[in-house]
Amino acid sequence: MFADKGRLSAERFGAGLVILTVTALSLCPAPAAAQDGAPTEADSLASVPSLAPPANVQVVDRDNDRGSQIDVSWEPPADVEAGGVEFYRIFRSSHPDTGFTDVGRVGFTQTSYVDAGLENETEYYYRVAAGAGEELSYSPTIGPVVSRPHWFNTERLNCLVAVVIFVAAIIIFVTWAKGGRELFIRRLPGLDEMDNAVGRATEMGKPILYITGLSGISDVATIAAINILGEVAKKTAEYNTRLIVPCADPIVMAVEQEVVKEAYAEMGRPDAYNDDDVFYLTRSQFAYVAGVNGIMVRQRPATILYMGMFYAESLVLAETGSSVGAIQIAGTDAVTQLPFFITSCDYTLIGEELYAASAYLSREPILLGGLKGQDTFKFLVGMLLILGVIAATLASIGAIEANFMAPLYSTG
């Protein structure tokens, strides 16, 4: 070890200084981790004082996280000439004097590191080493520091405010709707045709096929589709038309069975409800397509409704439906599938029209209030967008110092 350091010193200062350097090194106190005598990776690495250690090392629990993370930051060594430091290495231990292990390495341009995967409520100690080649220069041991989970992410405050405004708007409109206030919703042609589509199936004596896509119950589109299914089921119960609902998800099937059964009961036709008409087919995408296509060509439904989340199966289903002469109404928020439905269906509910559909069909105060609340929020978002564009434009041309809208959009 000494011989190696002596060679390095000799290259820099000349052979005459070798002895002096070796003597000085032998008199210098060893790093804290080495005093203990326990061999660690950090201890085994050479430490050369020609490289100054990082200054002002700080370790703090990371803000706004769910724990297990500690922020380590430092300042570059002040007395080191440019290019002297090639990297920094971060060492951690649960004891102040021993057991330091290498937990990370960053380039010389970085002055911070996030140490993740830690035990919460455990004390940790850190050392940061500036390095060049095989040389390392350690900072003093810093700590202890403890990571803790945080209950509230202050960087998401804007999200909370937005949710509160959104919910408040919905509650206000629901209250108004329940109080009997008339809430206007513009005409949605696709939904106006729903009555005609059910009536057509009734006149032809053929069933209606209702497909809610492949997504599970966690998908907003599926929930919207189930809401619409309830309204369609009321009509089919009223007209005594058969409603077939093949499902790709067992939980969705269970919910849809409940919804359809309740709709039939509400219309005073619980006897007309057939549990076997709302059934599980398969979870596999193209197996589901094969099964539904088979139902289409054999049952020959007069009306097919596609509501929910769809993937590559959309065009195959809609083309087969078209080939059997069914009137088809689709509604989805799957942007990539909308073009296929638009080209192959008679009516298509685009994106949010799907969410509005259940309120439009049922006219229930809660759903209407929700829809009006969404519209109010959309209006606010539009206004914020205009303000944001103005602020960004003024900031970019230097008319104002900073974009005053930026904090509203920060996402943490």
Binding site: C159, T282, G291, G294, A312, L315, A392, A395, I397
Partner: protein, 278 residues
């Protein structure tokens, strides 16, 4: 042996494609086979990926993710309670107790809806606002930027008025209608040309102007509380135009990916099965 399985796969592929002709026994066989096999396959997948590691193993074997857990511990209860809720779903087979199954559905639907609020607000509203609240001006010359921005706004306002509001107001004179359309077209073209010219100088970002106008128009289209007339009607028309352009692009792009699926099947038949192509 491989050849036998490949041949079975190829024959089933051809059976499915026979649907293009019409419904037939081969298609029916393949359809029922794939539906049945996939349903059974997913049953096994669900058991080993979800039920066994998340319910059976913690509750009965007292292990979660390979780590031992204590009987009656927090993790044990966290496995047991959802498991019991899942079992409640089977109450539907007993009509007298079928209502109990709604508890599980209530927890499931309500839980997902609640959990979804914050991420959806974050990802679909705040992130989108941040990404779209962009500067429509360049940075070279502030005075020119403001002047050209004002010019651009005036041109777009004129276009919007002539193209949409004026048409909505309506005129019974055919010549007047043609005149309005012609002027609209010329103004539209001129506006586009001027904006392109300005954009090319780097003073105004045409892309960002299109982005903002398209977004506001699209938002207007999905505004359900008012009739689409007047300014709102005009913006909604702009929005639906943007939507259709977007759908057209998406259609072409997705069709190409569908063709690649077909190529995959044809490759399977001609390469893997018949070895006719390399």
């Amino acid at each position: 042996m491989t050849f036998i399985w490949t041949t079975i796969g190829a024959l089933l592929t051809l059976s499915i494609y026979s649907f293009l002709y019409k419904d037939n026994p081969f298609y029916k066989f393949a359809e029922h086979l794939v539906v049945g096999v996939s349903a059974g396959y997913y049953l096994v997948i669900y058991y080993f990926n979800f039920i066994h590691p998340n319910v059976f193993s913690p509750v009965f074997l007292l292990r979660m993710g390979g780590e031992p857990i204590g009987f009656g511990s927090f993790l044990w209860w966290m496995a047991l309670i959802p498991g019991l809720l899942g079992i409640l779903l089977y109450a539907r087979f007993f009509p007298k107790f079928a209502w109990v199954g709604r508890w599980a559905l209530g927890v499931y639907v309500g839980g997902y809806a609640g959990l979804g609020i914050s991420p959806v607000m974050q990802a679909r509203v705040i992130e989108q606002l941040r990404a779209n609240a962009v500067s429509v001006a360049g940075v070279e010359d502030p005075f020119a930027a403001m002047t050209n921005l004002a010019l651009g706004v005036v041109i777009f306002a004129a276009m919007t008025y002539l193209l949409i509001v004026k048409r909505n107001l309506g005129t019974k004179n055919l010549l007047a209608k043609i005149g309005v359309l012609l002027v609209s077209a010329v103004m539209g073209y001129a506006g586009w040309w001027v904006l392109s010219l300005i954009s090319s100088t780097g003073v105004v970002s045409l892309t960002n102007i299109l982005l903002v106008v398209g977004l506001l128009g699209t938002l207007s289209y999905f505004f359900f509380s008012m009739k689409h007339k007047g300014l709102l009607g005009g913006l909604a028309r702009v929005g639906i135009a943007f939507l259709m352009v977007g759908f057209g692009a998406s259609f072409g792009y997705t069709v190409m990916s569908r063709v690649s699926l077909l190529i995959g099947r044809v490759s399977f038949l001609l390469h893997d099965w018949l070895h006719l192509i390399d």
